[in-house]
Amino acid sequence: MSTASKIEFRDETFRDDFTFKNSPETVLRAPFPFDNDEYMYAVNMELHKDGKKGTAFEQPIDVDEHYLSEMHDRALVLDEDPLRCQSLPHMTLAGWDTLELLMVSKAEGYPDLFSLSRDGDNWHWINRPMNIDQKFVFGDETTLPYGPLEYITRQAQGDFCVLDERDGNLWMDAGMVTTQADWSLDFDIGMNFFEWHAPVPLAHEKGIFKRALKYLLAIQQSNPARRLNWTMTVNPRLDTSPEHYHQWGPENTHITPENVADKLFLRIELQSFWRLPRSNGMLFPIRCYMLSMRDLTTVPKWAKRFHRVLNTLPPEIGSYKGLDNFRQIAIDYLANYDDGKDTSPGPFPD
């Protein structure tokens, strides 16, 4: 199933002058993460297929108006810090699995933008927006300018963790991570599922991670799953990494009632989980969508609901997500858009 994609790619920045902006259509198709007025951790997973038309779920690997600018920002991060993309030696096959999954999915979903022709192991990939025309031999790293994981994830929005499965656990043994909410691949590489989730408050006690791991290990080919996660970010900065905390950390204190509408963002992560066929590993893409507080007010249901979520959020979760410096300012701003009436069920706009 393909999307007739009339995407106008924006030329914008996620650093320095921060010219990132959503078009009204992009706001409406965002994967708003709250399906009711209160938020608590849960194993909120569902099948990732047959997505609703006109939403970020329509295609399993979503492409939007920020594609080219996000890929440019990724290239800038990698120039400075090549360790944002790593793959332990046993993960090369999973890298090829990832390349296949992303190329096939993009070519099927957006045939006017991407095409893939395969004759045995001789593959021909065309990425029109990025002006890439690449013939290569599937499985032969010497025929690509980068390893398979780095090659394809320089052409795909979102971060990608590639997990190995063994001993009844998942291990973060490869990835491309440049648009992360304050975590580091270089720190987490080689960790298992419980180790990389160790800093999350409350969820361990609720047994969430044990149940989540069990669910993930049961995910099989042709049944990908997804969940949504969220945090908030000051300025539309994709690369909020621990390595660059000195650049973005101080900005957390820069929110005022005057600038909150355009400077503070709800940062949504669309996380999906795919069984990789040849390696038996798992691909875990984390795609980031950012909505400014002003964007939220263009959808009355979302402004109301996010106001109520922030109001009732347990303080430990607010602190873990780094919201303490601006949470009240956001609540006060959004209060102007909350009439106290009931919101309709589900996450989608009315």
Partner: protein, 320 residues
């Protein structure tokens, strides 16, 4: 939408390998490649056996590098509940069938310095796929293959041609036996061992590996328990509010499926844990036949694996 999507395929060949074993080939109707898989993966075959739908897992033995078809080998089991008999008697070239997408519960550890593979009888099938993948990828491995007789030693010649000196065969009626202690005590550090075959052989390898100091993380086995036949019984489903009758040659899972319940499963052999269900009420004895629940869980009476386990008593209610 079903939790268990299936592939529609055509049987493109049925080959008699020897007096007990037949090999079945499957393709997609339009000839396009089947989904890729990793060595050790199985598919579940759906069989319309009269009124009854059977679903039985079999390891893929064809090369993961060639997905133009899938191949499986099935040993005829004259004592079983009938899945292998159905495949041997009823399935012929040209038939349409349905398969699950591949699932791997017996994957190679890709970090391993050396893979030590031990097969007994028809347990050779996952290793046929894994050795093909190892040859393409490179890396050290050995395959030790025990068979009852030369006649029943399926694929010895093909394997010999493909992997040469890495194949070690042991023909039972010629007095040859695998020296498990010798093998398990002489491997380089970092070796992983994989065993697939009859249950006594698997248990023996697990026991000798432990005795020889192998960590559990380096010992892999695949054992599909067969859903045993037994006395018919009745149980109730809380969520769907149905009462289900289980026949003599039927599992609880099959009986639920026959009643239109879309219950989760992967291995259908009591190994993967996917069908684990909570017992809400029980008055009687749950007959646990799985390898998933530990002894404490079995004793607690709070869990059941409907793909293989049975019940005897007055009342059983589970959470489906």
């Amino acid at each position: 939408m079903s939790v268990n999507p299936m592939l529609d395929v055509i049987v493109t060949d049925v080959v008699e390998v020897n007096s007990l074993i037949k090999r079945f080939h499957f393709k997609l109707p339009d000839g396009s490649p089947l989904p890729a898989f990793s060595g050790g993966a199985h598919v579940v075959i759906e069989m319309q056996d009269g009124e009854q739908i059977r679903r039985t897992p079999y390891s893929l033995m064809s090369s993961p590098l060639d997905t133009s078809d899938y191949q499986i080998s099935i040993r005829r089991d004259d004592e079983g509940r009938g899945g292998s008999l159905y495949m041997h008697r009823e399935v012929s070239k040209g038939m349409k069938m349905r398969l699950s997408p591949p699932t791997n519960l017996f994957a190679l550890d890709n970090r391993s310095g050396k893979q030590l593979m031990i097969a007994g009888g028809i347990g050779i099938t996952p290793f046929l796929a894994q050795t093909a993948q190892m040859i393409a990828r490179g890396g050290a491995f050995e395959l030790h293959y025990g068979v009852r007789s030369r006649e029943l030693g399926s694929y010895i010649d093909e394997l010999g041609a493909r992997i040469g000196h890495r194949l070690h065969c042991y023909i039972g009626d010629e007095g040859q036996k695998i020296d498990f202690d010798g093998l398990l005590s002489s491997q380089p550090a970092g070796t992983h061992v994989y065993v697939c075959g009859p249950e006594p052989m698997i248990n023996h390898v697990l026991e000798r590996a432990k005795a020889n100091g192998w960590p559990d993380s380096h010992v892999h086995y695949e054992h599909f328990a067969k859903a045993p036949a037994g006395q018919p019984f009745t149980f109730e489903l809380k969520a769907s509010g149905k009462t289900i009758e289980v026949g003599e040659n039927q599992s609880m899972l099959e009986a639920m499926e026959a009643a239109g319940i879309d219950a989760p499963y992967l291995c259908r052999g009591g190994a993967c844990g996917h069908c684990e269900s909570d017992v809400i009420e029980v008055d009687g004895e749950v007959q646990h036949e799985d390898h998933w629940l530990d002894d404490d869980e079995k004793a607690s009476g709070k869990k059941i694996m409907p793909c293989v386990s049975r019940f005897c008593g007055k009342r059983l209610v589970i959470d489906r």
